[in-house]
């Protein structure tokens, strides 16, 4: 036999013992305590508790959204205030024209910053590698080759030799005059 079934059968045959209490006395004891309960009487039934849970759930979601939006707006305001504060600091150091700070900065600066970011992003040119490639292509188109410049060049050009000779002669002249 399954043990759960056995328990059920046994407990059905052997019910709990009867609580040996005087019912009237028991009730009287409780009612004496109930009447002695201080403070407000049991609060009146609140009809809003009977509103279906879906309403509470919707209200909770709406409250969550409101808090999120409020927090986001607050962070924008903090950002704008920080920008203005930094700008004032820069203006005091002479880095920014104070006239630029006149007006409704807090409300316009975030938008302006966003616009500037967008413009900078649009104006950002290709990388150096791309620029070099494009330049070489342009030079090819005009049939010119870029001058190879080597940082270390052992062969002296004629002009360099002349200049070195002049320098040696100058040194010899100075040496002879000093002696």
């Amino acid at each position: 036999m399954d043990v759960a079934v056995w328990f059920r059968t046994w407990l059905h045959q052997h019910p709990l013992k009867d609580p040996a209490v005087d019912r009237a006395h028991y009730t009287a004891e409780i009612m004496a305590r109930v009447r002695a309960v201080h403070g407000p009487a049991p609060v009146a039934s609140r009809p809003w508790l009977q509103i279906p849970r879906i309403v509470f759930a919707s209200a909770a979601v709406a409250a969550g959204i409101a808090v999120t939006i409020g927090t986001t707006q607050l962070s924008h305001q903090r950002l704008a205030a920080r920008v203005v504060r930094d700008s004032h600091l820069l203006a005091s150091l002479g880095e920014v024209d104070p006239e630029l700070l006149a007006g409704d900065e807090i409300s316009t600066l975030p938008q302006e910053a966003e616009t500037i970011d967008t413009l900078q992003l649009a104006e950002t040119g290709p990388s150096d590698e791309q620029w070099l490639k494009q330049t070489l292509q342009l030079l090819d188109q005009v049939n010119e080759s870029p001058t190879e410049v080597s940082p270390v060049n052992d062969s002296h050009t004629p002009s360099d030799e002349n200049w070195l000779n002049e320098l040696e002669m100058l040194d010899e002249h100075e040496f002879s005059s000093s002696s």
Partner: protein, 222 residues
């Protein structure tokens, strides 16, 4: 003739019959509660009188002795009165009261645990009850031999002890479902958890009881 307001079905216990009977509960409980809430405190006695057996039995089966059960159930009724304004109109008063009684029993056990000098006598019956040591009524089979009757009493005593040894949640789930006959869903509502959790508690409790009572169960052919 039955009143038109008969709606909810619940379980009520009768002290005299010693049997848990499902009875149809009229909306009279709600009427009584409304009357109490509107200031007629004396009407609360109707609820106490109607449900005191239920509360006492549950507390007794969870705490194991009448003194603690009496205190816990009385405290539960007083707390239920204090919180009556929060009682939901569509709910069963019995389920709600069960929940309060369970919470009171938890508090009572915690309180008892903090008092090491007080020996918690498992299954300690009322002073006038000569047959102490068991939660359950000893039903002697006249056809059984004296040794079988003795073994049956021993089993009753040992089962009471084994139930008392269970962790509180397992004990509550087992007692609510198997001893008080609550459906799993209502037991879950009383315990404030899911039906699956109640099933798990009952399963573990049954396993523990099976291990503890193995010699007696073997004798019973289980």
């Amino acid at each position: 003739m039955q009143p038109a307001a008969l709606q909810a079905k619940t379980y009520d216990t009768h002290l005299e019959s010693n049997v848990i009977l499902p009875v149809v509960m009229a909306d009279s409980d709600m009427d009584t509660i409304r009357a109490v809430l509107s200031g007629d405190v004396n009407r609360y006695a109707e609820l106490v009188d109607k449900y005191q057996g239920l509360a006492l039995r549950l507390a007794f089966s969870l705490l194991g002795n009448y003194e603690d059960a009496r205190d816990a159930s009385q405290e539960a009724f007083v707390n239920a009165y204090r919180s009556l304004g929060r009682f939901r109109a569509g709910a069963r008063f019995s389920t709600w009261l069960y929940r309060i009684v369970v919470n009171e029993c938890k508090d009572a056990r915690r309180h008892r645990a903090r008092q090491p000098m007080v020996v918690a006598a498992v299954g300690e019956a009322a002073p006038d009850d000569q047959d102490s040591g068991s939660l359950f009524v000893d039903v002697d089979d006249p056809a059984a031999s004296p040794s079988d009757q003795l073994a049956n009493r021993e089993l009753s005593h040992r089962l009471s002890e084994a139930i008392a040894e269970l962790p509180m949640k397992q004990r509550t789930a087992f007692v609510l479902h198997h001893v008080h006959g609550l459906p799993l869903a209502e037991a879950a509502e009383v315990m404030g958890c899911r039906v699956g959790t109640v099933k798990a508690h009952i399963f573990r409790a049954t396993e523990h009881l099976q291990d503890t009572l193995r010699p007696w169960l073997a004798r019973e052919g289980v």
